[in-house]
């Protein structure tokens, strides 16, 4: 039930400033995971204009696929890739079978939100039926934790930070320089106008679901590597931390979501170093509530959805 409860190393004798910097380092690792998922959510919201409640369960699904494949002795990175593709396909199928009929009828965003809740029920419990409700251990030992300046990070954390940066740069290049990226931005800006200009917006939306699915699955694996266990509710409990990042960055703005993730990640880890760790999850939710109340348009608002 608590998102982001990681077993972190703490040294009570260390000076306060070091504790603080350590927590910032953990925050970076958390942020790299949240950023991938938040960008995925934001990307999808930017073209479809509704919030998908089932994203957390997509994360869980990707992680389970990767775990299953890795159990068979397949290379860890290949396993992540397979998990990513599987989750991408799940996104496309969910879009075509579930969301598209509603979007064609132009129903209210609230209706789509409830549809997402129904989909979340199906995916999360489908996972329970396939893989069981018991948590499984999912660990990838890549070496001992090491000191990097003031930070103390495991190679897995570093790998996740690197992968996150690489994927986000790749996404940025795609959005900026490819024809598809242009089509996506046009659809995001005004779907009807894009359609009138000959852009097949339904195809753009399908591809966006696929890309978002890949990012979500990688985020799911990263989340599980940090917590080292995986169960059918892992992703769902993290969902609202991700929403926090998405909202902070301004809903539907992928670049804002990256910054939002950085803030949320560091905030939850740093606060976790000072208050009872059990309340750490509540801090993320508290941030979501405060933000929605006072800055529902996000902290880093700029002109245009893709700011």
């Amino acid at each position: 039930m608590q998102p982001g409860h990681r077993a972190r190393l703490q040294d009570p004798a260390a000076p306060a400033i070091n504790q603080f910097l350590l927590a910032v380092g953990f925050g970076l690792a958390t942020a790299s995971v949240v950023a991938l998922a938040a960008v995925a959510v934001s990307l999808q919201v930017s073209v479809t204009n509704f919030i998908n409640f089932a994203y957390g369960d997509f994360m869980t699904f990707g992680a389970y696929i990767a775990w299953t494949v890795a159990q068979r002795g397949v290379n860890f990175f290949v396993a992540i890739a397979i998990g990513g593709v599987a989750t991408g396909l799940l996104g496309v199928i969910a879009n075509i079978l579930v969301f598209r009929p509603f979007m064609r009828r132009r129903v209210r965003p609230v209706t789509l939100l409830i549809v997402g809740v129904g989909l979340s029920f199906i995916v999360q419990n489908g996972i329970t039926v396939i893989w069981g409700a018991e948590p499984v251990r999912f660990q990838q030992t890549l070496g001992d934790a090491m000191h990097l300046g003031p930070f103390l990070l495991t190679p897995g954390d570093l790998l996740m930070i690197g992968a996150s940066i690489a994927l986000l740069v790749l996404l940025h290049m795609m959005l900026t320089y490819t024809k598809f990226g242009k089509a996506l931005r046009a659809t995001s800006n005004n779907a009807d106008l894009a359609e009138a200009c000959g852009i097949d917006s339904e195809r753009v939306i399908s591809i966006t679901w696929f890309i978002a699915g890949i990012l979500t699955a990688v985020a799911g694996v990263g989340l599980v590597l940090q917590e080292s266990t995986l169960d059918p509710t892992t992703g769902f409990t993290e969902l609202f931390v991700i929403f926090g990042a998405v909202i902070l960055g301004g809903i539907g703005r992928p670049y804002g979501a990256m910054l939002g993730a950085l803030v949320v990640g560091i905030l939850t880890e740093v606060s976790g170093a000072y208050v009872n760790a059990a309340y750490k999850g509540s801090i993320a939710f508290g941030v979501v509530i405060l933000l929605l109340l006072f800055r529902p348009q996000g902290i880093f608002t700029t002109a245009g959805k893709m700011g």
């Binding site: 965003p109 609230v110 409830i114 809740v117 979340s120 029920f121």
Partner: protein, 328 residues
Amino acid sequence: MLYFITDLLVLGCINSIMVVGLNLQYGYTGLLNFAFYTYVAIGAYIAAVTTIGPSTVTGVTWVLGWTLPWWVGIILGGIAASLLGALVFAFTVRRLRSDYLAIVTVSVAFIFWNAINTYIPLFDGGTGLFNVPYITGNAAISSEQYSGIMVLLSAAILALFVWTSRRLFRSPFGRLLRATREDEVVTNAFGRPSWQPQLWVFMIGCFMAGVAGGLFIFYITAWSPYAFLPLESFILLAALIVGGSGNYWGSLLGAFVLIEGLAELSRFIPSFGNGADVGAIRAIIIGAVLIVVLRYRPEGLIPERWLHWYSEAPSGLGARIRAIGRSG
């Protein structure tokens, strides 16, 4: 066999009370509250701690520990839930678009869940309250007899709440609520405030949630954080939408068929793999039914009949008024 039926009826009535309360919020006013079960939980906890007296077991702690009569406890539970609802409403509902509101309500549910689960002095943390005495006091009665008594009590309260919500629906106040739900701007243009009536009806809905929680804890005699996972609120919402939001018959149908009916049916699903499967398959069915109903029958199995004529005239009127507003 008789016990099977009375047990089913008690749970069905308690769930129906919750759905009727949720219907006041979502069906009448369009407020999407994913934290509804949190108010049920508050009602249950308050009803217990105001009636069962202080803890006698070391390590088991709860606040208050009063020894009021059970019916006062249930009413206090309802009042506590509605006050909490008013607080949440004041901070959130007035400011947010409906889908953001939904996210905030889920966050509220998580925070309360986390706090109650973690902070043991409040309601005994994750262990929760147990051995809550029957409302009949010390008189020794079997659980069969007790469920018979509880059927009468919960059915009576359900009838009272259905009657109240029916009166509300038909009153000028109910018309105002529905007008606000359909178009807040037009309602305001007619000089009607939109948020005070919404606040009242939100509080009444939370009151019903709290009362349902009180009945629940006195019937099952225990309550813990695992009784109000956020999932429960989603199931109630699914029951309301499938049954038909905006009218009380839909609420009752949804509560009995989707929640109780499926819970009973799932006994006949052959268990394979592990024990969690039956609950999981039930949740999958609820999710699928929810999506299919929203797709093919968005008004629910029993529609809000009143919508038929409403969709004709006043929306056109509203459009005209807004046109006047723009040209002026």
